[in-house]
Amino acid sequence: MHIEQITMLGHKDHGKSTLIGSLLMSTGSATEERIDDARNTSKRLGRQFEPAYILDAFSEEREGGLTIDTARAQVKYKGKAFEFIDVPGHEELIKNMLSGASYANTAVLVVSAARGEGIMPQTKRHLFLAKMLGIEHFVIAINKMDAVQYSQDAYEPLRNEIAAYLDSIGVHSQRVNFVPISAYSFDNLVSKSKNMQWYRGKALMDLLLTCHSKNVAEDMALRAIVQGTVETESGMAYTAKILSGKIETGSTVRILPLGKRVVVKSLYVKGKKAKNAKAEENIAIGVSQDMGNIRGSIISNSAQTKVAKAISTMLFFVKPVSGAAELRFNGNKTNGTITVDRIIDTTTGSPKSTQKPKALDAGECIIRLNGKVAVEEFSSFRGLGRFVFYKNDEFAGIGVIEKVLG
């Protein structure tokens, strides 16, 4: 069955892992053994029962009370399946947060209503990043309502501030659901809480039932990434993963950035000869012309796929970088030079009056590429419009292509 992948977002200690743990328990999705293990760990550490230990498995996570790395948990609810992706809320662990959140189409932002918590830097930064990653659906869970006597007065200001921020980064807040919850006390998780009669909406899991991710359309133009080569009975073939559209034997396809057109002579899917193949499938194709090593090339029959020498981008800096950097498109490396146009504070969404990025800033940047790369604008096709970048072999951030400059 289809599984909707949902990432948690939010500042550290606002209750992301606890919420997933509680959802696993209240939907009957965790085994007794995992729950017992969490219970025993809580006891051993002299703490109140902590559902987060179902997810936080490392000793450092349990003893330190934080999530270090991303984990996943599957939940079945009213005939639908969900996979919750837990992520760390510490800013220094943002590369792990990105590694988890990048797989999701839906996000649940967890914001603590407890005194002294509220909207914090990672609350807004995670929303900014989720928008950048292309996440389509958002649900905002205002957590720890039990710590503020379930008061609507504590809830409303948080709700309003987040709604305004969502609008400012281009997520229509009117299409976003907000729900007051307590992950510890199971309020408004799967059934409506009697503690908050003032809340007229649905419980969290029921809100998530309405989030459907769009399928990659098979009726789109063909796009595929060349992975390498494999030996077949009819000689050497190129291996590739189809991102969109279809391919069939006898058809002509365009290989970029070479700009060559070749005929598909033979096609293999799952190790067997086939007549055609579609999006998401891994193929091997024998073609009319040997092009040597073309790993990382793009097979595309879309006019939107262009060979770029420069791109206009939005970058998120895990490490501050300008000038030379290494870009990786679907794992394939190209060197480029980054010029910053405008820096954006990811905790406010507003521009900064500097052109020097700091770690965790975003930036509108022009990148000149040393080699030719086949890419697409993120808005026209995500799989070819995004990249990660490295500096001195260290992960330095992620980027999306706003415009291909030719």
């Binding site: 085994t31 007794e32 053994e33 450092e60 590694s99 990434i225 993963k241 190790g271 998401e280 990660v388």
Partner: protein
């Protein structure tokens, strides 16, 4: 237990295995003759035109079940596997953590060094254990086989950026997304040959296979694949509940994995 889409899982695994074959010079895969690593071999045959293109390592402590050895010989022949059997030494006074940690890992280090493998395909799944749930698809190990789990590389957008530590190797996890029940649904659909120990005899069967010393069977009457799938649909018990080395003390799997255990 949620049953996922087998075609989607299959495609993800094929992509990861092909990526490993392209990225690394000398790839090998571990085979325990269990259901997961046997499914991995079936997937490799799909990824590479009916052939398993890399050597297959069995870390053999000499105390696996007779059925397991029989199955190994039969399938190795049938699928023309390039099989490397690396003996590991069992000391009678050791069991559980000490045994798995010392013997299996020492033997693995030896064979990796001897053949110069730089990447090792391991058929772990996220749903097996909380610690395995924290793994990346492509994950570096140091030259001492340590897993630096507190600082794992970023992994997103088809960029498996792990770089090789000097003298270290890469673990490749093509089955990370699969659930236990998906493995069985796939074995059924693809008619993957399977070790007979998984099927019930006299009211018990093995749900997870290790060596004869530390593996305990579960009560079950599931004597065919359909019955196993049915059993898993309703189970509330963890798959590895019959595996002693997982449970001795807190954080045992973390310690084992940090030491280089599979």
């Amino acid at each position: 237990m949620i049953e996922q889409n087998l075609d989607e899982l299959e495609e993800k695994s094929i992509y990861i295995m092909r990526e490993a074959k392209e990225r690394f010079k000398n790839v090998a895969a571990l085979w325990s003759m269990g259901k997961d690593s046997t499914t991995m071999l079936a997937l490799a045959r799909k990824a590479f035109m009916g052939k398993v293109p890399f050597p297959i390592i069995h870390i053999d402590n000499g105390i696996d079940f007779p059925e397991t050895y029989e199955f190994r010989e039969k399938l190795a022949k049938q699928w023309k596997l390039n099989l490397i059997v690396q003996k590991s030494e069992i000391k009678p006074e050791m069991s559980g953590y000490a045994c798995c940690g010392a013997n299996k890992t020492v033997a693995l280090k030896k064979v990796m060094k001897e053949y110069g493998f730089d990447a090792l395909i391991v058929s772990i799944r996220r749903d097996e254990h909380g610690i395995r749930g924290k793994e990346r698809y492509i994950s570096p190990r140091t030259k001492d086989f340590k897993w630096k789990y507190k600082n794992q590389p970023a992994e997103l957008w088809n960029d498996y950026s792990s770089k090789l530590d000097k003298g270290g190797h890469i673990r490749v996890h093509p089955l990370l997304d699969w659930n236990e029940i998906d493995i069985w649904n796939y074995i059924k659909r693809e008619k993957v040959p399977i070790n007979s120990l998984y099927f019930s005899r006299d009211g018990t069967r093995y749900r997870s296979l290790g060596c004869t010393h530390c593996t305990v069977p579960i009560k079950s009457n599931a004597d065919n694949i359909d019955k196993i799938i049915n059993e898993l649909k309703n189970t509330k018990v963890e798959e590895r509940s019959g595996r002693q080395q997982d449970k001795e003390t807190a954080y045992i799997m973390e310690k084992l994995r940090a030491l280089g255990y599979m």
